[in-house]
C-alpha cells in the first residue's frame, strides 16, 4: 500500500493555504493616520474637492502619503499624528460647513494588496474603544399616526361619495364607523373595500346599531412599521454624519431596533444630543415685493427675512409659517404623466385642512420650502452643555398651481433634486420616537488592553500546545504544529476576507479555543495510527487506516460543534456573534488543515516508500 496524493490534491492544498495566508497579510501592516472628508447636506465630494484638499495641504507643507476618493468620501493619509491634526484644521477651514472632516486611522495595506481585495480584520468596539447604542423605534406612535390619517381619509371619502355616516372614532377594536341604517353601511362597505386592501373591514352591527370596524391589514401594518424603521435609519444616518465619526455603523436589528456604533467616540453626551436633534421643514410664501436689489442690500420689509438657497443665491420669505414639517407624513420621489420628476407629499389631516385654506388664497404665487436643522460646530454654552447652531436653507421654490389638499406634488425639480428633496423631507423628523435601550462605551485604553490580553492568552496557550505536540508525537507532532499554525493564520485570513466579520474580544477567545480544540483532529488520527501499529500493521497501512478511520469521527464531532456555533450565531448579539463567527471559521479551517493538510505532508515524507519506523 502506497500513501500518495495525486499532484492536483497537493496543489489544491497549497493553493488554499496560500490564499488564506495571502489575505492574512494585510493585518501585518498596521495603520496610517488619516483625515476623512464626508459631504453633508446635499454637497458632494468630487475630484475637484480632492484637488482643493491637496492644494491646501501642499500650501501648508503637509506631506500627503496617499489620497483616495471612494464611495463619495475622501481619505487623505498623512505621516504622523501631529500632521493629522494640522491637516484636519486646514481642510475643515478650507471646505466650510458643507463637509464633515474627521480624524481616522486607515489600514496601511499597500495599494497592490488592497487592489486584490486585501484588507485587515475589522476590530469591534471592545477592542478599539467607542460607543454602541441600541435604539428602539416606538412603533405604537407610527401606527397611531397612520390610524389618524386613515380616519381623516374615511371622512373625506365617505362625504365625497355622499354616503351618510353618523360618526367615526378610534376605539380599542379599531376604527369604528357608525351608520344610521343598513343601506348606507352596505354602500360604505362596498365602496371602502373597492379601494385597495390596506384595511380590513368587519361588520359588527347588532340590535339596530350599524357599525363597521376598520383595522390596518396585517400586511399594511407590517409595511407601515417597515417604513417607519427605514425612515428612522435614514434620519439617524444623516445625523451620525454630522458627528464626523470615521466609519460609523447604522444598522437595523430585527423589526424595530437600530444599532448605532461610533468608533473612537468618548463623549456620549454629545453623541446623544446630536442623534436626538431634529431637523424640520417649513413652508412659507416668497416675498415677491423684495426684488434682487433689495435682497442684495438686505433691506426687506420687517415681515420678511432673507435666506440662502441651497442651489445658490438668496430669496426673501415672509416670516409667517404656512405649514410646519410636523404635519408631513410621507414624501416620495415619483414622475408625472410627462415623466418629469416630482415629489409627492402627504400631510396629516390637520395639515391637509391648513394647507388647503392657504393654497386656495395663494394660487399663482411662489411658495418656498425651508429646511431647518441643528448642527454641532463644537461650540458650548456657558454652562458647558453643547450648543447647537441653527442652520436654515431654502431647498425649493414652486408656484402654487391649484388648491392643494392632503396629497400634493412639488414639481420643477430635476431627478436628483427630487430624490434629495424627498429624502430631506422624510429625514427631517423621526417618524416615530426613538429611545436608547442599550448603551456601551469602551475607553480606547481598555480596548488596547483587551487586545493585549487576548494576544497574550493566545501566545501562552499556543506555546504549551505546540511544545506538548512536538514532544509527544515528535515528527508527526511537528506536522500537526505546522497545521495548527497554518490554521490560525487561515482563520485570520478568512476573517479578513469576509466583509461583515468583526473581531471582538470573545472572537479572540474563540480563536484561542480553536487552538486547543484544533489539535483534536490530529490527536485522533495519530492515536489511531499508533493503535494500528500496535496491532501489527505495516507502516503504510497504519497511516492509511489511521486517517481513514478517524475521518468520520472528526467529521461527526465537528459538525455537532459547528451546529452549536451556528445556533449561537443566529440568536446571539454583538459579542456572542463575534465568538460564534470565529468558532465556525476555526472549525472549518481546522478540519481542512488537520485532515487534508497534514495528510499531504505525511504522504510526501513517508508515503510511497519503504519505511521501517514512524516518528510518532
Amino acid at each position: 500500500m502506497l500513501n500518495k496524493y495525486p499532484m492536483w490534491k497537493n496543489l489544491m492544498v497549497a493553493c488554499i493555504i496560500f490564499v488564506g495566508f495571502f489575505y492574512a497579510i494585510p493585518n501585518l501592516f498596521g495603520e496610517d493616520y488619516a483625515v476623512q472628508v464626508v459631504a453633508t447636506r446635499g454637497a458632494e465630494v468630487t475630484v475637484a474637492t480632492q484637488s482643493t484638499v491637496n492644494d491646501v495641504l501642499t500650501s501648508k507643507n503637509i506631506a500627503i502619503k496617499r489620497s483616495e476618493l471612494e464611495n463619495g468620501q475622501l481619505l487623505v493619509r498623512v505621516m504622523d499624528g501631529d500632521q493629522q491634526l494640522l491637516a484636519k484644521e486646514a481642510i475643515a477651514t478650507a471646505l466650510g460647513d458643507k463637509y464633515t472632516v474627521a480624524l481616522n486611522l486607515a489600514p496601511a495595506t499597500p495599494e497592490w494588496l488592497e487592489s486584490m481585495g486585501g484588507t485587515p480584520m475589522k476590530l469591534g468596539l471592545d477592542l478599539r474603544g467607542g460607543v454602541h447604542f441600541l435604539m428602539e423605534v416606538k412603533m405604537g406612535e407610527a401606527v397611531r399616526k397612520m390610524t389618524e390619517s386613515k380616519m381623516a381619509d374615511f371622512r373625506t371619502d365617505l362625504r365625497g361619495e355622499r354616503i351618510r355616516y353618523a360618526g367615526i372614532r378610534d376605539s380599542a377594536r379599531g376604527i369604528e364607523i357608525k351608520f344610521r341604517d343598513a343601506d348606507n353601511l352596505a354602500k360604505a362597505e362596498r365602496f371602502l373595500k373597492s379601494r385597495g386592501n390596506d384595511m380590513v373591514f368587519t361588520d359588527i352591527s347588532s340590535g339596530g346599531n350599524y357599525f363597521l370596524i376598520a383595522n390596518l391589514s396585517e400586511n399594511y401594518l407590517k409595511q407601515v412599521k417597515e417604513e417607519a424603521l427605514q425612515q428612522n435609519i435614514t434620519t439617524i444616518r444623516n445625523r451620525v454624519n454630522e458627528l464626523g465619526v470615521a466609519e460609523p455603523v447604522v444598522q437595523r436589528q430585527g423589526a424595530e431596533r437600530i444599532i448605532v456604533q461610533l468608533p473612537g467616540v468618548q463623549d456620549t453626551a454629545r453623541a446623544k444630543k446630536i442623534l436626538g436633534a431634529t431637523a424640520s421643514i417649513e413652508f412659507r410664501m416668497v416675498d415677491e415685493k423684495a426684488d434682487a436689489a433689495a435682497i442684495a442690500s438686505g433691506r426687506v420689509s420687517p415681515n420678511s427675512q432673507i435666506y440662502d438657497r441651497r442651489q445658490g443665491g438668496k430669496v426673501a420669505l415672509y416670516k409667517e409659517v404656512m405649514l410646519s414639517g410636523t404635519h408631513i407624513q410621507g414624501a416620495q420621489p415619483s414622475f408625472d404623466e410627462y415623466s418629469r420628476p416630482q415629489v409627492s407629499i402627504n400631510l396629516d389631516s390637520k395639515g391637509g385642512s391648513i394647507f388647503s385654506n392657504v393654497t386656495k388664497d395663494n394660487i399663482g404665487k411662489p411658495m418656498a420650502t425651508l429646511f431647518i436643522e441643528y448642527k454641532d460646530n463644537g461650540a458650548k454654552n456657558p454652562d458647558g452643555s453643547i450648543k447647537l447652531e441653527k442652520i436654515e436653507e431654502v431647498i425649493s421654490v414652486a408656484t402654487i398651481q391649484a388648491r392643494l389638499g392632503r396629497n400634493f406634488v412639488i414639481t420643477g425639480l430635476d431627478h436628483t433634486e427630487a430624490q434629495n428633496l424627498a429624502l430631506l423631507l422624510r429625514a427631517g423628523a423621526l417618524i416615530a420616537p426613538v429611545v436608547i435601550v442599550e448603551e456601551r462605551t469602551i475607553g480606547p485604553s481598555l480596548g488596547a488592553e483587551n487586545v493585549q490580553n487576548g494576544v497574550q492568552a493566545m501566545i501562552w496557550g499556543m506555546a504549551v500546545v505546540l511544545i506538548f505536540m512536538l514532544v509527544y508525537y515528535r515528527g508527526f507532532g511537528l506536522i500537526a504544529n505546522l497545521a495548527l499554525t497554518a490554521n490560525l493564520v487561515m482563520v485570520v485570513g478568512v476573517m479578513s476576507m469576509i466583509p461583515g466579520a468583526v473581531l471582538t474580544l470573545p472572537g479572540i477567545a474563540g480563536m484561542v479555543l480553536t487552538v486547543g480544540m484544533a489539535v483534536d483532529g490530529n490527536v485522533l488520527i495519530y492515536e489511531r495510527i499508533r493503535e494500528e501499529l500496535r496491532n501489527g500493521r505495516s507502516v503504510q497501512q497504519a497511516i492509511h487506516e489511521g486517517y481513514a478511520n478517524a475521518f468520520s469521527t472528526i467529521a461527526d464531532a465537528n459538525i455537532t460543534t459547528f451546529m452549536t456555533a451556528l445556533i449561537l450565531f443566529s440568536v446571539g448579539t454583538g459579542a456572542v456573534k463575534g465568538f460564534a463567527v470565529t468558532l465556525m471559521i476555526g472549525i472549518a479551517t481546522s478540519m481542512f488543515t488537520a485532515i487534508v493538510g497534514t495528510r499531504s505532508i505525511v504522504n510526501a515524507v513517508w508515503g510511497g516508500k519503504r519505511v521501517k519506523k514512524l516518528s510518532i
Binding site: 471592545d126 456620549t268 453626551a269 446623544k272 435601550v437 442599550e438 448603551e439 456601551r440 462605551t441 469602551i442 475607553g443 485604553s445 481598555l446 488592553e449 483587551n450 490580553n453 487576548g454 497574550q456 492568552a457 501562552w460 496557550g461 499556543m462 504549551v464 500546545v465 506538548f468 509527544y472 474580544l505 470573545p506 479572540i508 477567545a509 484561542v512 479555543l513 487552538v515 486547543g516 480544540m517 489539535v519 483534536d520 490527536v523 485522533l524 492515536e527 499508533r530 478511520n549 468520520s552 469521527t553 461527526d556 464531532a557 465537528n558 455537532t560 460543534t561 451546529m563 452549536t564 445556533i567 449561537l568 440568536v571 446571539g572 448579539t573 459579542a575 456572542v576 465568538f579 468558532l583
Partner: protein, 315 residues
C-alpha cells in the same frame, strides 16, 4: 514512542458506573436545588442596569467611594474591585424615573472627588426589557441546540445513543449552571456563550466514544454491550486525555491572561470541560447501555433497491 496511558487490556469503566452515576445524580440534584433556591446571579446583560468601570491613579478606597455614592439616584449601587486594586467596577440597578446618564454622572462626580485623575474606562447601560429578551433567547438557544443534536445523533447513530448524549449534555449544562448559582458568579452573555460552547465540546467527546462503540459493535464478533463499551472507552482514553489537556491549557491561559472581561466565559468552559469529559463516559455511554443498546441496533440498514425482487429485463 511513549504514551500518557499505556493501557494493557481493557479497563472496566462501567464497573464504577453505578456509584459514579449516583454521584452525578447528587450533583445534578444539588445544582437544581441551588438554582431553585439561590437562583442565578444574572449579570447586567440580562437584568438591565448600568455598569461603570473606573481606573484610579492609585489604590482605590472602596469604603470612601461607597460613602460618596449614597444619593437617591445611586441607591443599591454595588462597588467592587475589578482585576487590580486600582480598577473599580460599580453596578447600578435600573431605577424608575432616573435616567442612566444621571447615574453615570453621579458616579463620576463621586469618583472625581476621591481622585481627580480617575479615568472612565467603560460604561454599559442595558434596558430591562432587552435583558428579559436576551434571557429568553439564551434559554431558547440552549434548548434548540439540544434538540438539533438529538436529531443529528439519532440520524447518524441511533436513538439510544442520541438520548444518552443529550442526557450527558443536559447534565453538563445543569452542573455548570449549578456552580454559577452556588458561588453566585455573575452570569452574563459571555457566560452563556461559554455554556453553549460546553455543549459543543462535551458532545465532541461523546461522539468520539460513540463512534468507536459503533465501530466495535460491527468489528468485534464477541462480547456483550458492556464489554464493547468498555473496550471503546479504553481505546479512546488517551485521545480524550490529550485533547482535554490541550483544551484545558488554552482555557487556563484565557482564564489567567485573557483579562477580566472574559473571565466568566473561561470559568464556564473550565467547569464544562471537566464535567463534559467525565459525562461522556459515565452518563452518555452508561445510559445507552442501560437503554439496551446492542449489536442489531448498529447494523447498517440494508437499502432495498427498487425492482430488486424482479427478474432482470435482459436475459
Amino acid at each position: 514512542m511513549f504514551q500518557v496511558l499505556s493501557i494493557k487490556g481493557t479497563v472496566n469503566f462501567l464497573r464504577h458506573a453505578v456509584p459514579i452515576s449516583i454521584l452525578s445524580l447528587i450533583l445534578v440534584i444539588g445544582s437544581l436545588t441551588s438554582l431553585a433556591t439561590k437562583g442565578i446571579n444574572w449579570g447586567l446583560d440580562f437584568t438591565g442596569g448600568t455598569v461603570v468601570e473606573l481606573e484610579f491613579s492609585s489604590t482605590a478606597d472602596l469604603q470612601a467611594l461607597r460613602a460618596e455614592l449614597s444619593s437617591e439616584e445611586t441607591e443599591g449601587v454595588v462597588v467592587q474591585h475589578f482585576g487590580s486594586s486600582r480598577d473599580v467596577i460599580t453596578r447600578l440597578p435600573v431605577k424608575e424615573g432616573v435616567k442612566s446618564e444621571t447615574q453615570v454622572e453621579q458616579v463620576m462626580a463621586a469618583a472625581t472627588k476621591l481622585d481627580p485623575k480617575v479615568i472612565q474606562k467603560r460604561v454599559e447601560m442595558v434596558g430591562p426589557q432587552i435583558g428579559q429578551e436576551l434571557a429568553e433567547q439564551g434559554g431558547l438557544a440552549v434548548l434548540v441546540a439540544l434538540i438539533c443534536i438529538l436529531i443529528y445523533v439519532s440520524f447518524r447513530f441511533e436513538w439510544r445513543l442520541a438520548l444518552g448524549s443529550v442526557a450527558a449534555l443536559a447534565h453538563d449544562v445543569i452542573i455548570t449552571l449549578g456552580v454559577f448559582s452556588l458561588f453566585q458568579l455573575d452570569f452574563d452573555l459571555t457566560v452563556l456563550a461559554g455554556v453553549l460552547t460546553v455543549v459543543g465540546y462535551s458532545l465532541n467527546d461523546t461522539i468520539v466514544v460513540f463512534d468507536r462503540i459503533r465501530e466495535n459493535f460491527l468489528k468485534m464478533r464477541k462480547g456483550g454491550p458492556e464489554e464493547i463499551v468498555n473496550t471503546s472507552i479504553t481505546q479512546t482514553m488517551s485521545r480524550t486525555i490529550i485533547t482535554t489537556g490541550t483544551t484545558l491549557v488554552v482555557v487556563i491561559a484565557l482564564f489567567l491572561k485573557g483579562g477580566t472581561m472574559i473571565h466568566g466565559f473561561a470559568t464556564a468552559l473550565l467547569m464544562g470541560i471537566f464535567v463534559g469529559t467525565f459525562s461522556s463516559i459515565y452518563v452518555a455511554s452508561f445510559l445507552a447501555v442501560k437503554l439496551g443498546i446492542n449489536r442489531e441496533h448498529m447494523m447498517p440498514v440494508e437499502i432495498e433497491k427498487e425492482g430488486a425482487d424482479q427478474d432482470p429485463l435482459t436475459p
